[in-house]
């Protein structure tokens, strides 16, 4: 007599088409391709959101082109982690590296970055001043290409390097640590 069926496999896939990037994402990417980082400043509370979302989640008001402000391509490391990569499938990193959170000057939201150029892991610390190393303009990924779908500054910025400025005291960015 055949063994009773106890398990059965059911493989299923569903393919989702990526949605169009929002009009605001496209605009952000266009500016990024030109080397300009923009945000939206809430007309009610003054918080600057980068990338812009089209609204302030705290005040729940919409923000538009008239609220657009430029954010600097330099900022301060607020927090960081040292990652020791395990060699699972798809892992491209082999050596320890730093995942840092950076608060750009003129922004109230932070971005996560993984590439710090020329900064030894032991030298990374909260309060360290860094600046963006931009990809050559042709390699940033056009606004209509991949850039509008990427997180943070995407492929427009390749890495971050120390500026050599004095550290920023913790109380200046303590409100921005998640």
């Amino acid at each position: 007599m055949a063994e009773p069926v106890q398990f059965m496999s059911h493989f299923t896939t569903v393919e989702y088409a990526l949605p169009d990037p929002s009009p605001l994402n496209v605009h952000f990417a266009e500016e990024l391709a030109k080397g300009r980082i923009i945000g939206h400043k809430c007309p009610a509370c003054g918080m600057v959101y980068m990338p812009p979302r089209g609204y302030c989640p705290l005040c729940v008001v919409e923000t538009t082109a008239k609220d657009e402000v430029e954010v600097a391509d330099r900022g301060t490391i607020t927090t960081f982690s040292v990652i020791t990569p395990l060699q699972y499938q798809g892992q491209e990193e082999t050596a320890d590296y730093v995942q840092a959170t950076i608060l750009l000057d003129g922004s109230d939201t932070t971005i996560m970055v993984a590439h710090l150029d020329g900064i030894a892991i032991a030298d990374v610390h909260s309060g360290l001043r860094v600046r963006a190393v931009w990809a050559p303009e042709a390699e940033r990924g056009g606004a209509t290409g991949s850039l509008a779908r990427q997180m943070g500054l995407g492929s427009a910025v390749t890495s971050w390097e120390a500026t050599g400025e004095a550290d920023v005291p913790r109380e200046h960015f303590a409100e921005h640590i998640v």
Binding site: M8, V14, Y16, P19, S22, N25, R53, G54, V60, E62
Partner: protein
């Protein structure tokens, strides 16, 4: 039981820019619903939303949508992974507790995105028999149409007449169209679209102060049939009939019924289960056959039933459905007093 009324309903405009985020579809919609009764987000005591991650393939997408409600300082809120009509039910239950008087209900969905709805909805089926077959909701609705026609003697012309009544299209022209899944044609299935809607519920006398004609929830109930369509007589909907009985649909004359039917045979099944007389005005808004903003379609039916009360009617019914072949059904009886 506390008397609770719908005092406001707002919908996002259909012409959204391509790629518009759901949060930005919702934010002005929620503002509009509250503005209409002179309220702000600070007046809301409880918030409940409905959405479904499967539609766009995102994860925890309701968290971003919640930003449109204003979640700082922290608010009391909940979410259902289904049509916003069930979020309205939860809000109604929450207001029965008696400690808060105002609830905001909203839902949003982008059925035009991602995979096709026919593909996505196969995931609501059982994983052993039907999901592996890829039994999509249009094919299941075609089986339901066959069951309805076999039992009631209705014909494909009757199905086309339902569409003609909503759209002013010519029945003969509709019948000349090819089948999508026989006996259903393209017009028998409501087009999946993007949508967002918001409803404001208020308890007690405050509702009368906010709005000329609040739509009092005289009864609300939801019931479910067995999940597997093969265990049911698809030409009937016992769960709708039971929900209608519990909600008290038959306790008075129904002037308008807004039914969550996204395929023509569903409308026949629902009208019978609700015991609607022939003179009842069914889906004057056009209903789910004109546009199917998945997970917003049901909440919109209740919102449209509210609009009918606001417009001077005295007793209307809003209905919402979920699951394969009308598996779960919610019935809401509204009265103007």
């Amino acid at each position: 039981m506390r008397d609770i009324a719908i005092v406001s309903f707002a919908q996002a405009p259909a012409d959204q820019p391509p790629g518009q985020t759901e949060t930005l579809m919702l934010l002005p919609t929620i503002t509009a619903a509250l503005d209409a009764v002179g309220m702000t987000r600070r007046d809301v005591g409880f918030t409940c939303s409905g959405s479904a991650d499967y539609l766009t393939g995102g994860t925890f997408t309701f968290v971003q949508m919640l930003e449109a409600a204003g979640a700082w300082p922290p608010i009391s809120e909940s979410h259902v992974e289904m049509d916003g009509a069930w979020a309205l039910y939860e809000a109604w239950v929450r207001l029965q507790h008696g400690d808060v008087d105002v609830a905001l209900v909203f839902s949003s969905g982008r059925a035009s995105l991602g995979a096709s709805l026919r593909e996505t909805l196969t995931f609501q089926l059982d994983p052993y028999y039907l999901a592996p077959l890829g039994a999509d909701y249009v094919s299941l609705a075609a089986l339901q149409a066959d069951a309805v026609m076999a039992r009631t003697g209705r014909t494909e012309r009757d199905l086309a007449e339902i569409v003609a009544a909503r759209t002013a299209l010519d029945v003969d022209k509709l019948l000349a169209e090819p089948y999508v899944v026989a006996p259903l044609r393209a017009h028998d299935v409501g087009p999946p679209v993007d949508g967002a809607a918001a409803v404001v519920l208020v308890a007690g006398d405050r509702a009368k102060e906010l709005c000329d004609r609040p739509a009092w929830i005289a009864g609300i109930d939801h019931r479910a049939d067995p999940h597997y369509p093969g265990m049911r007589d698809l030409s009937r909907s016992p769960s709708t009939a039971l929900a209608a009985e519990k909600a008290g649909v038959g306790r008075g004359e129904v002037e308008v019924a807004e039914l969550h039917a996204v395929c023509t045979p569903e409308e026949i099944v629902l009208a019978e289960a609700l015991g609607l007389a022939d003179r009842v005005d069914v889906n004057p808004s056009g209903g789910g056959l004109v546009a199917n903003p998945m997970v917003v379609t049901g909440l919109t039916r209740i919102g449209e039933a509210f609009r009918q009360i606001a417009g001077g009617r005295n007793r209307t019914v809003g209905h919402a459905s979920s699951g394969p072949c009308l598996q779960q059904n919610l019935v809401c009886v509204l009265e103007g007093r």
